[in-house]
Amino acid sequence: MRRLALLLMLPLLLAATFAPVRPGVPLRFPADHGAHPDFRTEWWYVTGWLNTPQGKKGFQITFFRTRPDIDTANPSAFVPRQVIFAHAALADPAHGKLRHAARIARAGFGLANARVGDMDVTLDDWRLWRGKDGRLHAKLAGDGFAFDLAFTPTQPVILQGEAGLSRKGPGVGEASHYYSWPHLAVAGRLDGQAVTGTAWLDREWSSTLMNPRAVGWDWLGLNMDDGSAVTLFRMRDGKGGALWAGGSHRSKAGVLTVLKPEDVRWQAGGWWQSPRSKARWPVRPMVALRVGGAWRELPVVPMMADQELDSRMSGGPVYWEGAVTVPGGRGYLELTGYAAPLRM
């Protein structure tokens, strides 16, 4: 669901007022943990597995910033120069489906804001920020669940693509600035109960990244038990084929392999039909990546089949975002464009 934000600006891909994604711009931290308001869209995406007294649960905390295409002299504080929205979900096998909540607001009045310079995104009483101690913090509550979590980095960030410039399609400029932070150690409270776990942060910002022929995408981020990390994604066309694919592999020794389209195979499988949206989702894909000339196959198994999230009430799509395992690792799988083709 990284590209959910794209829905908000579909007709405006050629707008010139947005900052372009340019190669050769090095990422700098902590500034790049903060917002990039000149770009059309941006997200802070935390997913992971929690160990709770009741067993393992998955969680997703996502903040989006999108800049509507507004060029107006209107001085009103209500002009939506930036819109912040956020989704949060808890995957609990005992519940059988996701508990989720959403927030959306125009930036302004101190009620909704994405800070420039370091990570601090607020939306009413929801907040995701980097503390002075270098840890990331998330505090938010939805209907039936409340997160108060701290994420302690155990490894450096992964710069995806060419030093943080990740291509998303065959076309020129179809790219984003993209870094990931795997193997974040989680400590905190879920519904007031102490929990631990492992999480993954994805950070991406761009103004133009989607190929016109793409109808959706698949994404997978895995924290492997041996300390390595796997990132895989592909853009799909109308026939279900890959328009583009990519990802990365960082070994436990810290050796980073950037995956080219030909290094990624993604075989949809394990179709599950949602009783609510009637959409069919391939929730048990067979993925493979080629690292160092050797193909490694990873059969993906979801924590539960029903991890569909319907954000249509707040203007988003229906997507599937769920906790999954592979042999020797666990992470999050994202599927979009299966409920309805994303209109271009």
Binding site: M9, I70, S76, P80, A105, G110, S314
Partner: protein, 846 residues
Amino acid sequence: MQNWVPTRWLIVGEWRAHPVRMGLAVLAIAVGVALGFAVHMVNSAALASFGRAVASVQGRADVAVRARSAAGLDEGLYPKLARLPAVQAISPVVELTASWGKLARPGSSAKGGRFTLIGLDPLRAMSVTPGLVGLSRSGQSGVGSRPAWQGDAVWLSPALQRATGLQPGDAFTLTAAGRQAQFRVMGRLAAAGDDAQIAVIDISEAQWRFGQMGRLHRLDLKLADGAGARAAVQAVLPADAVLATPEAEASRADALSRAYRVNLGMLALVALLTGGFLVWSAQALSVARRRPQFALLAVLGLPRAGLVRQLLSEGLLLGVAGAVIGVALGYGLATLVVERFGGDLGGGYFSRTQARLGFDVPAALLFGGLGLVTALAGSISPALAAARTAPAQALKGLGDAPDPAKAPRAWPSLVLLAAGGLAALGPPIFGLPLLGYAAMALLLAGGVALMPALARLLLAPLARRGATWLPLDLAVRRLWGVPQAAGLALSGIVASTALMVAMAVMVASFRQSVDDWLVAALPSDLYLHLEGAEAGGLDPQAQARLAAVPGLAHVQFQRVISVRIDPARPAIAVMAHGGHASVPLIAGTDAPTPPGTTRALISEPLAWLYGWRQGEVHELVIGGVPRRLFVAGTWRDYARQWGAIVVPLEDYRRFTGDATATEAAFDLKPGADARAVQEALQAALPAAVQGQAQFGRPAEMRAVALTIFDRSFAVTYALEAIAIIIGLIGVATSFSAQVLARMREFGMLRHVGVPRRQILQMLGLEGAGLGLIGALSGLSLGLVMALVLVRVVNPQSFHWTMDLALPWPLLAGLVAALVACAGGTAVVAGRRALGKRALLAVRADW
């Protein structure tokens, strides 16, 4: 068990013999039921649609924080409230009175109208007032999709879309706060309901395009459960904000028209009461006439209980027929009224909403039931009287015959009248003049009951002296000797005349006072009023351009805003007046204005509603800060029932920094052509407000005002006319019944040699005498009741006073018509009675 067959035969026989009389009794009940039911239906339809419209504009939030006045609130309140833990969701709103097209004067064919322009943040509104968030053409929610909300996008409520005839994609030019802007219709607010005229745009556009930068008018809230939540919100509100709960909003909607509705409802019940009188008089006469029949039945073995049963069955049938016809008539009447006058019967309370009429079954049962009870109550005393009669004497035409030596008792009716007088002095109950109405009912009952004694008293001198002219002598002696019969015939006419006189005097007084008030309130030659300019009207440049128009001797600008003192009451009008305030003062003081206060003149309704008195100092929030106002006088105001305050324009400008004006009064130079000046002024107006501008000359404004006035009282006039017609028909039938019952007497008179002509003269005189007594009694009773209406009911309902004005020509005409009608009826009935059968009548027992 009792055998019902004879009862049925006798009722059928009676109804076939006297269809008119029975039909009239049915009609009396039917009219009462119909009026009550119709008024109730129209009122509840209007109120429901008004309530729906209010709810639509509100979008059904839990509670709302509202600005006290159109000046709005600082938007800084928005984050302050949003951060309160008690606030679960919040939606800031800019709400402006707006207009489109050219606002039409009554009678003009120009197309245009007023509506509520709402600016909101759809992302926030989605979770508080989703009904106000529009769908784009594709049906997709506009949330987040840039083109859907920003720029010139506007969504229309179904009612406004119908009124404008605009389709998605069309351009929509609208004016608000003195500025004009063009928008593009994106779609329809399907969930906004059918009643409210609303257009919704983005809040940032509303602030920018209509000069509301930094201002909000409303914050819709969704609160956490618990009583503390409202208190927590209340605690942080600035002086210029009020917390409007749904209960307060509902009470405001109710308050707006409550007095008016209760008054009409009471009038309808009075009509029903008159119907009850008519049933009673019809039944009493019918029983008197059939006394020998009942006696025969008693002799033949019909028990008393059977007799009572028969008469009550008759009453029940009358009641059922009347109730059914009444409910049907009422429904038809209500439909007609809503179509012709709108939901407020022309009262002007709900002009912006559309009433929908539904058949209200419980109300139909209630009003039908009231009709039934009235009919039964009207039948019960005649039935019991009939059952008490000794059958043998009655059969011979004796017994129960009125004994001229016995004087009718006057004290019970005097007690009723006294009680009525006391009730009139009572205070309002629940803000309504319920005791005033009780006083009217008691006076009516007492007045009617007093009739026999009064008739006898009035005729006593004549009867003692005797008349030399035989017909007159006979007539006087008959009326004097049988006052009960006269009272019976008179009850209906006295009741309806009294009501008619009371209403006529009240309306005439009101109309006269309104007319005087208009003259006093409109001293200038030409007036300008900007419709829907609450949020801002003419800026100083425009004012200067207007003042520079040639032909003007003097210009006074005025700025009117509405300010909410009490969230449960409709807002009051604050009129910032330049120069000497030309309001019709009813009391004023020359006392100097205390330092630190502003000299204010309050309207009479305001004094009533908020208890402000001359010489006092009160606080009122103007420009966000409570200001101290010195009440220097009270003025009469019929235009703003919820109160108005006149303050000096310079003080207002100092308080608010708002230099705009919404109204202006122009005095012309001698010889200047009013029409030409008006055209020049119109041309000097900024283009944006030309459609909103309404010019008026006092004469035509008075004409329009009085036309509206008369139209709002059209329903009242109709009620009166119906009451008086029923009363007249009642007199006609009861009189003719009495005349026919006296056929034997006429036969005897002719046998002893009285010429037919003289008998007719006697009857005519009797009838005219009866009519005169009835009319004069009704007139005096009506005048007393009018006093109650003018001095008690009106001030308590509408919080204004009026001077008593008596429409003498109308009253004299009424008396003359009644006398002529009663006399004529008597003669016509007499002709019938004196036909061939009259000579035989001596032989017959009936």
